[in-house]
């Protein structure tokens, strides 16, 4: 499975592509950051993020896109921009028919470090180890995007089983309604 992970943000949107299956060594295919100037209009920044994400999708043809789930409890000043950037990432993927998975920051941390309360350095260290890199990817947004992709590769089998169960439940409810 090839996954594009997106750590959404208006100023820095981390992107990372990882390929692999659970229980086997993972391979990093690419990592980077889509940046937009802080003094540009929000609408123009969203267009630049769309262009950047589309370029990553064209270049790497992932089967799935994993995006960080944004919570409104976060920093009030930045959360709106994060929500808007995540909307663009989801839109770019769904428009191509690619499945979009959302993972919370603690799910991602727990997946790669074993604890949902890990700090940035710990996540960076584990991403470096799991992908056999020479150094942690910089900036942290890039490392977080790779961690999201890894988290999705490892969690997807369980998530798919859950979605199938929900679909079966809905179908049965429809039949008895």
């Amino acid at each position: 499975m090839r996954v594009l992970g997106v750590d959404p943000g208006l100023t820095r949107c981390g992107v990372g592509v990882v390929e692999g299956i659970p229980g086997r060594p993972l391979t990093m295919l690419g990592v980077g950051v889509v940046r937009t100037p802080a003094d540009a209009e929000t609408a123009d920044r969203l267009v630049a993020i769309e262009r950047g994400i589309d370029e990553w999708l064209d270049a790497h043809r992932p089967e799935c896109v994993a995006v960080e789930r944004v919570f409104s409890q976060h920093n009030v000043r930045t959360v709106m921009g994060t929500a808007q950037a995540s909307a663009v990432a989801m839109l770019c993927a769904a428009r191509r028919g690619l499945p979009v998975a959302l993972h919370t920051p603690s799910e991602v941390k727990a997946a790669v470090t074993g604890t949902g309360r890990a700090d940035k350095a710990q996540v960076g260290a584990m991403v470096t180890r799991l992908l056999r890199l020479d150094a942690p990817p910089k900036p942290a947004d890039a490392a977080d995007a790779l961690a999201l992709a890894i988290c999705h590769i490892w969690r997807a089998p369980a998530q798919n089983r859950l979605q199938q169960a929900v679909a079966v439940h809905r179908a049965m409810k429809g039949r008895t309604a």
Copy 2:
């Protein structure tokens, strides 16, 4: 000036097109709601909103799009969806090179009723009167979209003067830097 107003939301995205200039009677060219099913995946809902907004832009060719500015102080459960829907509206407009204006709910209320603390009914009543309609547009999201467009037509001259002043200031700063 022809303006598309967008009251963003995932479940109901109000859209309304108004044409006019300050100090002259205004004309409504269209009003409606882009709806997406609450049980669909967020990514698919964003694609449906994109399609809906693009259809309105194609049909009415506005010169400008006015979108409600979303604040994170609002209802925590709905604010993320509102931010995401507003991102799609801004993206659709900016991708076509259309200017995007953001107005706060109290700016819109103050523009059409004279007070920033007006309720939904008061806004609906003034929209009905200003556009010479037979009845207030339903649902409230549709009336709010028209109010946004009216607000923009009336505020745009002042906003343009402000933007020109900022541009001149930046250009002068650049020259002395």
